[in-house]
Subunit: 351 residues, 2 copies
DNA sequence: ACGCGAATTGCAATCGATTGCATAGCGTTT
DNA sequence: AAACGCTATGCAATCGATTGCAATTCGCGT
């Protein structure tokens, strides 16, 4: 390759990217001076500095942050990882994730970081280590711990800067941020009991730590009210609308007397409502439905959906702040429990 | 700064990242050899190669892609930019965007690219040029052209690798991918007329090119059926549920005889359904509602929402492929129109 | 006129990799 | 035995910036 050839040059896009040497040549100074001028160093006389900055602006020059990072060793990119179930690849579909990503994007932008969005096989969570090992990002924010607490602990042991949205578990060496899932489940149980419901069903994959905690809280709350949840009153389903629909049909068939549904995400709850309608059940008269997350659409659903609110906006900020603490060498609290409250709307309230 | 000090070192995270020199030392060879071995070069003897690869795996070493990119000049990061309205910052809330991001994430991952997700002020679209100028990404995929066709043309003129999801406009120097919005609007008009509706209202911000085209198609379709749309039969609203709700109330008040709503996104349509219910209108008996996008939830909404499907999965692939063509110096078609079809569900179909 | 410090600016090493070219080692051919 | 060729490896320049230190210029005191 000849030295004068410009990489990524192309017939149509033949303009080479401006670089510091170009500005230096134009200004008649050295690159050192340009570098310092652009970073606003006091070492450079005010008028040289200004002249160079004007020049840079004129030519749309921006310092190459890749080179800067390489030299300075400081990275301003954070990877946000959204795992997908290896079978369906569809985890991305839950609107809750969308809210989470938006919230993280905001929090990172505010603090001057870039966001690298990455999807990973939920069974190979440890693959995210490569994002850090390869220097692509300074740290990782992972949405959900899925079934691999162990892999996460291993990564934490390697000292990788990692913060996880999820449940706080025993023997946890990594840092989590999440809602109070047990409490959330309990609130739903109490509310449904209060509404006079007795024959509940539970929808959600309790193989996942967060869901497991919601389930535990729910069962505990029911037990306190003297109600027991039998094996036919629950179904383990992934966070997919169609799965929720099918599961709901199965539950209606096997437990037709049901009068309340607790779904572990609003998406599942909405799918459940759809399935119940198809079977001519009135919501909430025949069956009360409560979801989880309080995504934006829940309030506009028909009927408006009762749900457990997760403070998404705050979540992004806390996740980012804890990760930045880690990067800064400080030790963030091992877990943060965010406020969790029940929002009662029409889907579970009989007037 | 002393030479032995390790950047981003910290009390808790004191482990320096492995690098090529370390592997070289461990293997007793030079870095050149390691570099070649890890990239699988035939120049290195098979057994040295294997020995080095094993070593790298053992120590969790991954080549620093930042350094690689700097040297090779090839970047494998694409920026996906989601503009937000400067007032609300909320553009992120529409589930359509979520689908789009997921689809792009898939397409990019499949092709071995990373995705940098970035939010920008919709009034400063030209700010995305900095993503390229600064070398953070090789190219940009922008979701929507918003009100700044001019800024986009200027960027295209600078030769920036840019592909836009949106409407095909006259005098367009950049490359777009989008649905056939005019046709979409027209399909909705025809369908509503066929259902015997005559008093339609339109919900959506026609200041945005895509929406304007849907509006034009809709109006043209109505005109063909001998129907005229007066100024009180439309409202310009941003893609926000609450705005949609309020706009719907206003329309109901100013044009109470309405019997059909065409909303420019499913989010708006769902919000409209909510507002109509609050005013005791039956859907679809009293008022038919049609949305746009066919997001996943639309099928599970109550009633299931009629809508114009945008082929989101295909969209991501096409956007990415066109951008890669640009990066490759080829000239992609100036615009791609993806299949647009009407999905009729219960919200607009009287049995 | 000379010396000295302060204010500017430039030189060159460096970040962590890649790669053209040089070279070392070793077997073959004549 | 000399010459040659091939394979496997190392040297050193390079990507685009940053930064410690050296060098230059200039003003001013004596």
């Amino acid at each position: 390759m000849s030295k004068t050839v410009n990489k990524q040059e192309s017939p149509s896009t033949s303009r080479r990217r401006m670089q510091m040497t170009d500005i230096a040549r134009l200004a008649g100074v050295s690159v050192s001076t340009v570098s310092r001028a652009l970073s606003g160093s006091e070492l450079i006389s005010a008028d040289t500095r200004e002249r160079i900055q004007t020049l840079a602006r004129q030519f749309n020059y921006t310092v190459n942050s890749v080179a800067t990072n390489l030299r300075s060793g400081v990275k301003r990119t954070i990877a946000v990882v959204v795992p997908f179930e290896p079978g369906s690849r569809q985890s991305f579909a839950d609107p809750f994730l969308h809210g989470m990503i938006g919230s993280l994007a905001d929090a990172l932008t505010e603090r001057g970081y870039e966001m690298l969005l990455s999807r990973t096989d939920a069974d190979r969570l440890d693959a995210v280590a490569a994002l850090i090992d390869s220097g692509r990002s300074a740290g990782v924010i992972l949405i959900g711990q899925w079934r691999h607490h162990d892999q996460l602990n291993a990564m934490a042991a390697r000292g990788l800067p990692l913060v996880v949205w999820g449940a706080h578990l025993p023997h946890q060496d990594y840092c989590t941020v999440g809602g109070d899932n047990v409490r959330g489940g309990q609130l739903v149980a109490e509310h449904l009991l209060e509404q006079g419901r007795r024959r509940m069903v539970f929808l959600g994959d309790w193989g996942l730590p967060e869901v497991a905690q919601r389930y535990r809280g729910f069962v505990a709350g029911l037990r306190a009210g003297g109600i027991h949840l039998s094996a036919q009153q629950r179904m383990a389903v992934p966070f997919l609308a169609e799965s929720g629909r099918q599961a709901m049909f199965t539950l209606i068939d096997s437990f037709p007397e049901l009068d309340a549904v607790f779904a572990c995400s609003d998406l599942l709850a909405m799918a459940a409502v759809g399935a119940l309608r198809e079977r001519k059940k009135q919501i909430p008269t025949d069956v009360a439905v409560v979801g989880y997350d309080d995504v934006e659409l829940s309030a506009h659903f028909n009927p408006p959906l009762s749900t457990v609110r997760q403070p998404i906006h705050e979540a992004g900020a806390v996740l980012v702040d804890e990760l930045l603490m880690l990067l800064d060498g400080k030790t963030p609290p091992p877990f943060a429990l965010l406020e969790t409250r029940l929002i009662v709307r029409e889907s579970s309230r009989v007037p």
